[in-house]
Amino acid sequence: MKLKKAITIMVVFLVSVVILAACGGDDEDKESESASGAKTVKFMHLWPEGSSAQHHKVVNEIIADFEKENPDIKIDLEVLSNEQYKDKIKVLSTSDELPDVGMTWAAGYMEPYVKGNMYAPLDDIVESDLSDSFVSGTTEAFSVDDTTYGLPLELNISTIFYNKKIFDEYGLEEPQTLDELKEIVTTLNENGVNPIALGNRDAWTGSMWYMYLANRLGGDEDVLTKAIEREGSFEDPALVQAADEVQKLVNEDSFVQGFNGLADEEAKSMFMGEQAAMYLIATWDLPNFTTNEDIPQEFRDSVGYFKFPSVDGMGDTNSYVGGPGVGLFVSENSDVKEEAKAFTSYFVQQWGERAVTDVGIIPATKVNVDSLDLPQMYVDVLNDLNSATNITLYADVQMSADVAQVHLDMIQALFGGEITPEEFAKTQEDALAAE
C-alpha cells in the first residue's frame, strides 16, 4: 500500500512540477518588468568572450555606458557563437520572438525578415542621429526598397595576405598580374611550399576567388552583380571564363591539398602556422596580423598584403570584393521599440572609434584616424579602401538564401573539377531564373 502511495505521489509530483514551473516562469516575467519601472531591451550578439575577446569587451563597455546614461533602460544580453546565433534566430523568428536588438547580415540574408515584417525601418535614426556618419554604400546593403533595416558595424575588403619571409626566401615579389601570381605558385610548388591556403568547405572562401576573377575579366562592368540582379546572364562569357581560370589555378596546384575538405579556420591556421604562403581573406582578420597578442609577434611582422592582381591586363585592381559585415537590427514587434532604437543608435556611434582602437577592425562609420596611433598595415588598408573604385558585395550575401546555397555548392564542384565552367554557369543561371 505504501508503495502504491509512493507511485501516486511521484506522478502527482511530476505533473505539479510542470505546472509550478509554468507559473514560476510567469513570476519571473513580472519581476523583470516591475523592477523600479526600468524597461529591458533584449540584445543578442555573436561575439563570445572566448573567441572574440576584444569585440566582447567593447560591447560590454558600450552597454555599461549606455545603462549609466539611461538609468531607466536595462540591456539584457545573450551571446552565441556564429552558427548557433544563426540557428537560434531562425527558431525565434518562427515564433515571432526576435530579440529587441540583434545582429543581421546584409542583402539576401535579411530580405525574408524584412518581407515578413520582422525588422523595424531605421531610416529615422540614419537621418537624424547618424546622418552623414556612415561610409557611403554601407547602409545601402542593408536596405530593401530604399528603406534601411540594418545599421552596419563593419566594412571589409578582401585582399591577399602573404608571408614576407617565404616570399623573400625564394626572391618573390608582390604580383601585379595573374600570370605573375601563377609564376609565384610554380616557384613555391617547385620548392615544396604550399602556395595558397584555402578552406573551401566553407565555400564562400572559394567564392571570393571566383568573384575576383569574374570582376577582373568583366572589366568595368560588374557582370556578376548584374547577373544576380537579373540585368544580365550568369552565362556571360566573362563569368564562364572566370570559372575556367579557377580550374586552371586548381590544376596548377595553387591551393593547399584537400582544400575542399578544409574549413576556413583550418586554412587560416595553416597560413598563420607558416604552412602556406598566401591567403585571400577579408579585412576582418586584420587584428590577427596586427594587434592580436595571442599571435606571435614574429609572425605578425612577416605578414604583408597585396591587391588581387589584374587578369590579362584587364580589370581595375582598385575594385574589391567585400562589403559590410554584420549590422544591427531592431525588432518590429518589440515592446520597447523606442528604447531599442535609442540603444542601437548609441551603439553605432560608440562602436566606430572603439572598433578602430580597441578591436582593430574597420567600422562602417567614418572615423577620423589621423590622431590615432594605428598599425601601418591598418592605415594602408584604410587608404586602399578610401581610394576603392568599386566594392562588389559577396555573392552569397547578395543572393537569396536559396540561390546562395546553389552558388556555394557549385563553387565546391567547380574547384573540385566535378563540373565544367559551362555547367557551373548554367546551373546558377537556371537557379537565378527560377526565382
Binding site: L3, S51, S81, S95, M272, D285
Partner: protein, 273 residues
C-alpha cells in the same frame, strides 16, 4: 598452439585498446597546444611549451555555473528517464493488455524523429507554456527524447525475466508495486546501470536543445560553454581542448563507477537467484 592463439588475441586486444584510449590522450595534449602547434605541428608531438593557461582561460570564462547546471540537469533527467522508462517497460512486457503493442509502437516512433524537425514546434510549445529559458524545459525534453532508447534497451532484458519469479511473488501475496520495486528493479540493476551510462552521456553532451530553449547564462550547460570559444574570426582551439577535457572528466568518473555497478548488480542477482 592454444598459447599462440591467446598471445595473438591479446596483441589484437591491446592494439584496439591503444586505439581507443588515444582520443583522451590526444585531447589532453591538444588542450596544451597553441593554434600553431595544433595545425602546423606534428600531430603526435608533445606540446613544446604546455599552455596550462588554456585551462585558466576556460575557468575565467565562468565555466563554474555551466558545470553545475550540467551536473544537476544530467542527474535529474537521468533518474527520471530511467524510472519512467522502467515503469513503462514493465507494463508493456510483463502485464497483459491489448494495447501494449500500440503503446510500444508509439514509443518507438520517438526513436525516429529527427531533432531538427521537432525543434521549432517544441520551441513554440514551450513558449506558450512559459517554459522558455527555464531549465525544466530542458529536463523534460531530455527525459522524453531519451525514453525510447531506454525502453528499447530495457525491453530486451525484461522479456527474458522468468515468469516464475513473478508468479512466486504474486502467489506470496505481494502487490504489483512491491513486485516491481522490490524484485524487478533490483534484478534489472545491471541493465539499468547500462542505461544510466548511456543517458548520462547523452544528457551531458546534448547541445541543440539547450542552445535553443535557454538564453540566460545562469541556466546554460557546459556544451554551450564550449561554443564560446568557437568564433567568427578566430577560434581558440587550445581553449576548446581544455573545455573538452574538463567536461569529459566527470563523465569518466561516473562511467567508471557505474561500469562496476554492472558487475555488482550481476553478483547480487546471482545470489538471489
Amino acid at each position: 598452439m592454444r598459447r599462440i592463439g591467446y598471445i595473438l588475441l591479446y596483441v589484437c586486444l591491446s592494439l584496439v585498446a591503444l586505439f581507443q584510449i588515444f582520443p583522451i590522450l590526444w585531447l589532453f595534449m591538444f588542450s596544451l597546444k597553441t593554434n600553431q602547434e595544433i595545425f602546423a605541428g606534428n600531430p603526435f608531438a608533445f606540446p613544446t611549451d604546455p599552455k596550462w593557461e588554456n585551462y585558466l582561460k576556460v575557468f575565467d570564462g565562468g565555466i563554474g555555473t555551466y558545470f553545475w547546471n550540467s551536473i544537476w540537469i544530467t542527474v535529474v533527467a537521468t533518474v527520471l528517464t530511467i524510472l519512467v522508462a522502467s515503469m513503462a517497460t514493465f507494463a508493456i512486457t510483463r502485464m497483459k493488455w491489448k494495447l501494449s503493442g500500440l503503446v510500444l509502437g508509439l514509443i518507438m516512433v520517438g526513436l525516429m524523429i529527427p531533432i531538427h524537425s521537432a525543434l521549432i514546434p517544441l520551441y513554440n510549445m514551450f513558449l506558450n507554456a512559459n517554459l522558455i529559458d527555464n531549465p525544466l524545459s530542458i529536463v523534460i525534453t531530455y527525459v522524453t527524447y531519451n525514453l525510447p532508447i531506454t525502453v528499447m534497451i530495457l525491453l530486451g532484458f525484461y522479456t527474458t525475466i522468468p515468469r516464475e519469479i513473478e508468479e512466486a511473488a504474486i502467489i506470496d501475496g505481494s502487490s504489483i508495486h512491491r513486485l516491481f520495486f522490490r524484485i524487478i528493479l533490483p534484478i534489472s540493476a545491471p541493465i539499468m546501470s547500462t542505461t544510466v551510462i548511456i543517458n548520462m552521456i547523452y544528457n551531458w553532451n546534448e547541445f541543440v536543445f539547450v542552445n535553443t530553449f535557454i538564453s540566460s547564462d545562469k541556466y546554460k550547460t557546459l556544451t554551450v560553454g564550449i561554443q564560446n570559444f568557437i568564433g567568427q574570426y578566430m577560434t581558440d582551439w587550445g581553449a576548446i581542448g581544455a573545455t573538452l577535457v574538463i567536461s569529459v572528466l566527470p563523465i569518466i568518473i561516473a562511467f567508471l563507477f557505474f561500469s562496476d555497478k554492472i558487475m555488482e548488480g550481476i553478483t547480487a542477482s546471482a545470489v538471489k537467484g
